[in-house]
């Protein structure tokens, strides 16, 4: 007997490759959205800092805008720099 698989329609869930589950600012799951967004994923992406912490982009941008002087990572208090891959 020979079984040939012609095509396979599968189901998968996507996930961010991150070292944490939830955004440290909004406490929502990374796979979910920041409080302002409706659609997850491309529309509400994550960003990484050089300190390796990551947040919803909208969350951290909002946070940084609220910091008048030195922009720090809300988790480790190091000065925040975007880690562009």
């Amino acid at each position: 007997m020979k079984v040939t698989i012609k095509s396979w329609t599968g189901v998968a869930s996507w996930k961010w490759i991150a070292n944490d589950e939830n955004c440290g600012i909004c406490r929502m799951s990374f796979e979910s959205t920041c409080p302002e967004c409706a659609l997850p994923g491309d529309d509400c992406p994550l960003v990484w800092g050089v300190c390796s912490h990551c947040f919803h982009m909208h969350c951290i941008v909002k946070w940084l805008n609220l910091q008048p002087m030195n922009k720090q990572c809300p988790m480790c208090r190091q000065s925040w720099k975007f880690n562009i891959h």
Partner: protein, 794 residues
């Protein structure tokens, strides 16, 4: 001195009643003169007057009244079934008196009474003549009154049946013409039937004669002034009966016509004319103009009209269930009822009768949920048409809601009805989408719109009103009413999401346009927030298609692929949780998926895929011997048959460890292939491939659609599983409570938790659900249950 004897004989001649007789003979003027002269001489006129009066009374009491009533008492034995008697006897044509014994009795009795009355009347007038005292007439009681007193004092209980029999006949005679006009029977046939009026053969019809008798009797009764007392109650009963019969005859089961007008004119034309003819007997019919109708009849008319409305309304209400089912066609019947309800307070009766008929007709296990829903929607429409305030609706549909709440497929049915064409028209209703805005505005403007406030209708138990006093709920539209079954739209939206997830996963080539349209309609109605996850789910599907084409078009991943992979990539947070089944793929397959994953990773930076291998669809070609089968199966089945390539015989255990599917589930999956005749269980727990074609016959039955049967199983976690997960939130509360308070009964735990629940996201749950949850904890030995209280296990 005069001759007293001669004088006495003169007196007796003038007043024969003094001698106990009452047929009156004519007396000449001389006798009056004589008696008067003598008596005034003696001065005894007053005494004579008194004697005459006494005697009149005694005659009325001892002779006339008993004699009159005797007519009724004689027949009282037979009169137990007057209707029957008059019917059976009427065929014996013979003398008229025999045909209707009761009827003739009545005529006779009246005849006698009337004679007696006239005699007494004569006595009185002679007395007047004798005394020549104009004041005397005022002093004397009227003979009518005397007679009334005597008669009514001896009223026998059974006379009503005779009277009503009499008037029944009268009514038949009266309505004969209109009856003949309304019957469309051929005149030839008609002659063979007995005459409607007198029930005799047509040739021997005695209606005219009877009518004459009736008329004269009526006239006599009228003269006596007895008609109201004697015939009143019998007449009322008779007319009520006739009205009932008429309504049953003309209106029963006909909902597509308005009956009220026709009934009113029937009352006016037939019944009232008849009544008037009785009460104004002396005049000829032509004289009776509407304004001349006596007051008593007028008052009677009001009563009868009221009664007609009441009977009609009762009639309609008793058939209200059928009216509901026929709804759009039965609008006119509902309009009629509404007019009746404006005049008469029937609400309580309506709600009670409707509740019980609904319970008897649709709220039992023999009716499937869809039909109950259809009935519910029809009831909403019909009752709303009847009563725009929605109070009746609220009360009547409460049992339906309670009942539907107990059925576990209700939500699913409602959601299906909302999204698919069906008998409930819910999808049409959804497509309309206008009502909700109206309702919303009314709700928001309740304070600014106070000038249009209307009090709640009366006649309804205020307690019920209190529970749902919110106007917003009551003015809500049909969809809200249906969704209201569970008291919250959240539950419906959760179920909608589950159903949609199932649909999306099972028909991977789904009709996205229809889904999106439905979703948009639902969003208008229930708001965006509740349907947000559904929106994400749909977006996942369209995104997946794009990603698939991108990855397929990308050269690096599909060098010599084993098979094509297309994926539905979901945002797990927004989908209902999956059940916990799993499946280990063979290595070569897994590699293909890894390739896809890495293609995805490079396409979408920083993101990866978690495959859910159990779900999906696999198109496979099986070549066995000379046969080639192409079919679409779920992944587990595909993997099982794939393993049989390498080895013809597998034990259940081996397969189970290889695929990481529990043995029980695996057995079920293998049976799919057993049905297709590819695998057989040679020994318990040992499966082997059948390569021969000897089982060809079984193959004939094989059909690709068979594969779908298995797919009916939902990939999602069952609703109760999801529920338990939600309740898990409370476990720490429960532990805390039981640590502090040692032991508690379930209703206290439920109450306490409800307090917490109101703080923590408002998860609603019933005591039953809590009981299930606690019982599971008891099974897991985390709790002890004894004597009705729960304790922590030590």
């Amino acid at each position: 001195m005069c001759d007293y004897r001669a004088l006495w004989s003169d007196v007796v001649l003038i007043f024969p009643i003094l001698d106990g007789k009452y047929p009156v003979k004519n007396v000449d003027e001389k006798a009056y003169e004589n008696v008067y002269r003598h008596l005034s001489y003696v001065g005894n006129i007053d005494r004579l007057t008194a004697i005459i009066e006494l005697e009149t009374e005694s005659i009325a009491r001892n002779i006339l009244a008993p004699k009159f009533w005797k007519h009724f008492c004689l027949t009282s034995g037979e009169s137990s079934s007057p209707q029957h008697k008059s019917l059976s006897d009427s065929y014996a044509i013979g003398a008229l008196k025999d045909t209707n014994a009761l009827f003739s009795h009545f005529v006779e009795a009246i005849e006698e009474l009337y004679n007696g009355f006239q005699c007494l009347q004569e006595m009185k007038s002679r007395l007047m003549q004798l005394s020549k005292n104009p004041l005397l007439s005022a002093k004397l009681k009227s003979i009518q009154t005397t007679l009334h007193i005597a008669m009514l004092a001896q009223l026998p209980p059974t006379f009503n049946s005779i009277v009503s029999d009499f008037y029944c006949l009268h009514f038949r005679l009266f309505t004969k013409d209109s009856y003949q006009a309304s019957t469309t029977i051929d005149s030839e046939v008609f002659t063979d039937l007995p005459c409607v009026g007198c029930n005799c053969d047509v040739e021997q019809c005695c209606c005219v004669k009877l009518s004459e008798m009736v008329k004269s009797s009526n006239f006599k009764l009228f003269e006596l002034g007895l008609i109201d007392r004697l015939a009143g109650s019998a007449l009322t009963a008779l007319i009520k009966l006739k009205i009932k019969e008429h309504i049953t005859d003309t209106c029963l089961g006909i909902f597509d016509r308005s009956h009220l007008k026709q009934l009113e004119s029937w009352i006016n034309d037939t019944v009232m004319t008849w009544l008037t003819s009785i009460f104004t007997a002396p005049k000829s019919k032509k004289d009776i103009l509407p304004e001349k109708i006596p007051d008593s009849v007028q008052a009677f008319k009001v009563k009868l009209t009221y009664f007609m409305y009441e009977t009609f309304a009762q009639n309609v209400i008793s058939q209200f269930f059928s009216i509901i089912i026929d709804y759009p066609d039965s609008t006119l019947a509902i309009d009629d009822l509404r007019i009746c309800m404006e005049k008469i307070d029937m609400r309580v009766y309506l709600t009670e009768s409707l509740r019980s008929s609904l319970e008897a007709r649709i709220l039992h296990p023999g009716v499937n949920t869809m039909d109950i829903l259809t009935g519910y929607v029809a009831a909403i429409k019909a009752i709303r048409h009847l009563d725009s305030t929605g109070v009746i609706l609220e009360i009547v549909t409460a049992p339906i809601k309670d009942y539907l709440r107990k059925r576990n497929d209700t939500v699913r049915r409602v959601v299906t009805a909302l999204t698919e064409e069906g008998p409930t028209d819910l999808s049409e209703e959804l497509a309309k989408g206008e009502f909700v805005k109206e309702g919303k505005e009314a709700g928001l403007d309740e304070f600014s719109n106070w000038e249009n406030w209307e009090p709640d209708p009366f006649g309804i138990d205020p307690n019920i009103l209190h529970i749902n006093s919110s106007k917003i709920i009551r003015s809500a539209d049909i969809i809200s009413m249906v969704v209201d079954i569970y008291g919250s739209k959240e539950l419906f939206m959760v179920e909608y999401r589950n159903l949609m997830a199932d649909r999306l996963l099972s028909q991977l080539d789904f009709n996205s346009e229809k889904e999106i349209r439905n979703l948009e309609l639902l969003k208008i109605r229930f708001g965006e927030s509740l349907l947000h996850s559904c929106e994400v789910m749909l977006k996942d599907v369209t995104d997946s298609k794009r990603i698939n084409t991108h990855i397929h078009g990308d050269g690096n991943c599909n060098e010599s692929p084993l098979f094509d992979i297309s994926a539905l990539i979901i945002s797990a947070q927004f989908w209902p949780s999956f059940n916990k089944e799993s499946l280990q793929l063979p290595e070569e397959m897994e590699n293909e998926f890894k390739k896809f994953t890495s293609a995805y990773e490079s396409y979408k930076g920083n993101r990866t895929l978690n495959w859910r291998t159990v779900t999906g669809r696999v198109q496979i070609i099986i070549e066995i011997g000379e046969r080639v089968m192409e079919m679409t199966v779920p992944p587990t089945q595909a993997v099982i048959i794939y393993h049989f390539q390498k080895k013809n015989v597998w034990t259940l255990e081996e397969l189970s460890t290889l695929t990481k599917v529990p043995q029980s589930a695996l057995r079920r999956r293998i049976s799919f292939w057993q049905n297709h005749g590819l695998i057989s269980e040679t020994e318990p727990g040992v499966y082997s491939l059948l390569e021969k074609e000897s089982e060809k016959t079984q193959f004939e039955d094989m059909n690709i659609t068979d594969a779908d049967e298995e797919d009916l199983e939902s990939a999602m976690a069952s609703a109760s599983d999801q529920r338990e997960e939600e309740l898990q939130v409370f476990w720490s509360y429960i532990v805390g409570m039981l640590t502090n308070l040692d032991s508690m009964p379930i209703d206290r735990i439920h109450q306490m938790l409800k307090l917490f629940a109101s703080h923590s996201g408002g998860v609603e749950f019933t005591q039953d659900e809590l009981k299930h949850f606690l019982q599971r904890k008891v099974r897991e030995h985390k709790l002890l249950f004894s004597g009705g209280v729960y304790q922590l296990a030590k």
